[in-house]
Each structure stands twice: as structure tokens, then as C-alpha cells.
């Protein structure tokens, strides 16, 4: 499809916007999209998702890619790469190796820090708690709250002991 603004270049950006109370959808080329202030996230980050997945996929022989499908939702990696959408939670396990380079480029990191769901593994929960206690300990020392620091140190020891 051609860009609806310039009518010359290929449209690559789909815009949904509210204009005068109506939902409008446009297909624009990246140049016109940028001009109109629709700079995309991927544009801002200096790459676009299609290209990212696309170039990565090129390094795989087509046959082996087509063969693997997620048994849970039926997605192939090609489906994911084309739509930029992962099919289900299980896909992240099945296509972990394929997805991780893109994840690395999007976030700059590949492992989660922060809140854990109750379904998280016990080991991760303990490690998360340890990391939290240690950063609190650092803070207590910095602020010279030695009584609190001693308590925190004991909790850390206790947790590490139980963990081994």
C-alpha cells in the first residue's frame, strides 16, 4: 500500500488516532509519519521491529524455521516476526533463542529485575528478596543507621543459610 499522505512511498506505519471525535486510521510512509510527529518507538530507538526480526531471520534456513511451531498456540517464529506479536506465554520458551537477540536490542538487557508474580519459582523469589535486603543494607549503612543495618545483615545471613 502507498502512503496516504505523499502517495509515493510504501506505507510502513499504521496510525490510529482520534480526530474530531472519530477514530481515524492511516497508513503512512516513515518519512511522512515522522514529519507529522508520529515518530514511532522503534524509529526513536534507531531501528524498526520488522527489519530487526527480518534481518535476524535471514540468518536461518527457511526450512528449519518453518518446522518449529509452538504446541500451545500454533505460532511459528515467522508468524511472530511478521506480526511483531508473540502468540502465547509458551512461545517465549519455545522461541527463546530466536527472540533473545531482539529482546536484547529493545531493552539492552535480558533478565528481569523487579516485582515477581506469585507463580515465580522459589529460587527467584529468594534471590529477589536477597537483592532487596542487600540494597536496603547499603542504604542503611550510607545513612548510618547501624541498628537497622545489623538487623538487615542478620536477615540476609538467615536467608542465605536456609537457601543452601
Amino acid at each position: 500500500m502507498l502512503c496516504q499522505s505523499c502517495g509515493k512511498r510504501q506505507a510502513t506505519t499504521h496510525i490510529k488516532t482520534i480526530l474530531n471525535g472519530e477514530l481515524k486510521e492511516y497508513d503512512l510512509c516513515s518519512e511522512c509519519a515522522n514529519k507529522m510527529g508520529y515518530g514511532s518507538f522503534f524509529g526513536n530507538m534507531g531501528f524498526d521491529l520488522d527489519k530487526l526480526f527480518g534481518s535476524f531471520m535471514d540468518s536461518f534456513p527457511t526450512a528449519s524455521r518453518a518446522a518449529k511451531r509452538c504446541q500451545c498456540c500454533g505460532s511459528s517464529f515467522e508468524d511472530i516476526a511478521r506480526s511483531g506479536k508473540v502468540g502465547c506465554a509458551n512461545c517465549y520458551d519455545v522461541f527463546y533463542e530466536e527472540l533473545i537477540p531482539s529482546i536484547q536490542r529493545i531493552h539492552g538487557r535480558t533478565s528481569h529485575i523487579g516485582k515477581l508474580a506469585h507463580s515465580a519459582g522459589t529460587q527467584v523469589k529468594i534471590q529477589n528478596e536477597l537483592a532487596r535486603l542487600k540494597s536496603e543494607l547499603q542504604k542503611a549503612i550510607r545513612e548510618q543507621e547501624f541498628e537497622k543495618a545489623a538487623q538487615l545483615r542478620d536477615s540476609i545471613k538467615e536467608l542465605e543459610k536456609n537457601n543452601t
Binding site: 482520534i18 474530531n20 529485575i113 516485582k115 507463580s119 529460587q123
Partner: protein
Amino acid sequence: MSEKKFDTLKDVNDVVISTRIRFARNLREYPFPCRLTDEKKRQVASIVKSAVLDGHSAISGRFGYIQMSELTQEEAVSLVERHLVSPEFISERQGRGLLLLDDESVSIMINEEDHIRIQVISQGMNLESTYDLADKIDTLLDEQLNFAFNDKLGYLTQCPTNIGTGMRASLMLHLPSLKESGAMGKISSSLSKLGLVIRGMYGEGTEPKGAIYQLSNQVTLGISEQEAVNNLRDIAYQLVTQERNARENLKKNITIQDKVYRSYGILQYAKLMSNEECMQLLSNVRFGVESEILTGIDLPTINRLFIEIQPATLMKNIGKKLTPQERDRIRAELVRSALMKPQVPSSHRLEE
């Protein structure tokens, strides 16, 4: 919302209009929405709905459920204009549901890009308590639902850009001076290097109207919620400082002062006003108040007008469909009555 916290941060409300925290969550047992049939979407909606409404928490009873397919087009668009749902959410309404808290500070979108999008919004700069409430609601749901979570990748989402914390924290900022001085392009590109992004008023893929921007964190993996919120706050304070500096220069400029007074005049007396013109004039007047060129108008009134003058919200509040010209007439009336209330005429200050 703790009044005290609100008070100590009130000093940046000249720039910060509102605060928003959003969590993306999915149910482990179901494929993500792009792979769901309508039937499965209904199942997901009913599971999430009962997890919220039948919960034992005090907040459960304050939620109402809206089936998106049952709304009129105006009602749906008005939800976007009031920042309660994303434009994406109303583009296809089949199988989508919305849980809305009675005071509209919390909205839970079901089957948007992810099964669950929890969003908490509050006025002014209010990151801590907004985050706390979102976190609390998330924990309540986590106790009842089996969230898709991976020890290495954190919360799993349909788009890999949201995995990890699944959290997007954003601040709505009014940056007329930075926009006027042409600095926004440069700011936008340097922010992306810091893992933050600045966009138009209605988020992804929307243009900035009335110099209102949305600043939010971009990276969600490998950074804790707290750290992301702190980063956002630090950068927001820097932008506030930059905006204020730019404002000091602009406010002495007679052309700018003229623009502010003319805008105020038009808003007080015009009989017809388009949405676009109104946004621009309100932005100019807000600048006038921020820079103390104008007095006697409070910022919350202007913030409220930014939303109430939007076409669908206008029609929703009037309770009927209106032609564009009728809308322009009612919009002008609305603004006139909001700004014409007895107040010290700012002309007194002119002689200073």
C-alpha cells in the same frame, strides 16, 4: 491519595498535568489476545471480571464493568479522550471489556494488546501513590489469577517491548515554552538514549496538541519498577527546569504576551470554536497562568477543559449527537462560562 504528598509536589504542577501507571498482565492458560477467538476472549473477560468484582478487597465493590461492544461510538471515543483507555482499545471493540473505578482513577482494560491492562491515573505529579495503588490492584489480581510469568523474562506480554515489569509510568506535561523554542526534537532524541520516550497527548502514534506531551519509560526489562519510576521523576524534574528557564525568556517578549491576552480574549468571547483552535488557545492561556502574565485562573480548570472540550466527551456530556457546528458552539459556550466567572480582571496588572 495522601494530601500531604500531593502538597509537597504541588510545585511542579505548573508543568505536570497528570500521572499514570500502567501494568500489562496476561493469563498463563490462554494464548495472547492476537491468537484468541471471540469465544476465548469472552472467557478471559469473564475470568478477569469476576476476579476483580468478586474480590474481598474494599475496592472491589467500587468497580463497574463495561462491555465495550455495547457502547455508542461517542461513549467509546470519550473514554479515549478522558485517557481511560487507549485508541487501540476502541478500534475493535468485540470481546473487549473495561472495569472502571467509580471515580475513574483506575481502569482495567481486558483483551487490549494484553489480557489485562491495569491503569491508574491521578492529577499532577503523583508517582508514589499512583504506583502504590496500581501495585496493590496488581497484587490482588495476582492472588486470584495465574499470570504468565517467566523467571528470566519477568511478566510475559504479547509485544516483547513490554516484557519484564510490564510497567509503563507516564507523566503528562505541558511544555509550551520548549515547543515554542524548537527544542522538542532535540529533547526527544536525547531521551530515547535514556530509555524514555516523549509522545503526543494520547500516547503512541498521536500528535502533540496544545503543547501537551506524554513522557514515559520505554525499557521494561532489567530495570525494577522503582528504578524506572525514579528515572522518570528525575528526567521530569529536568524538563520542568528547562521549561521554566525557557518560559522566563519568553514571558518578557511582547509578542508572546500579546498572544496570551488575545487567546484569553477569544476564549472569553468567541461564539464558535473548533477543537484544534480551542486546544491551542487554552495552551496559550495556560502558559499565561504558568508565567504569571495572567492571574485569577486556576490550572485545574484549564486541565479539566482540555478534556471536556474534546468532541466525543462534549457530546457525551450533552447527551446527544451534535453536528460539527453545534459542537463548536457548545464548546465556545463551555469555555466562556468556565473562564468568565467573576474574577479580578487581569488588566489591572497591565500597568505594572
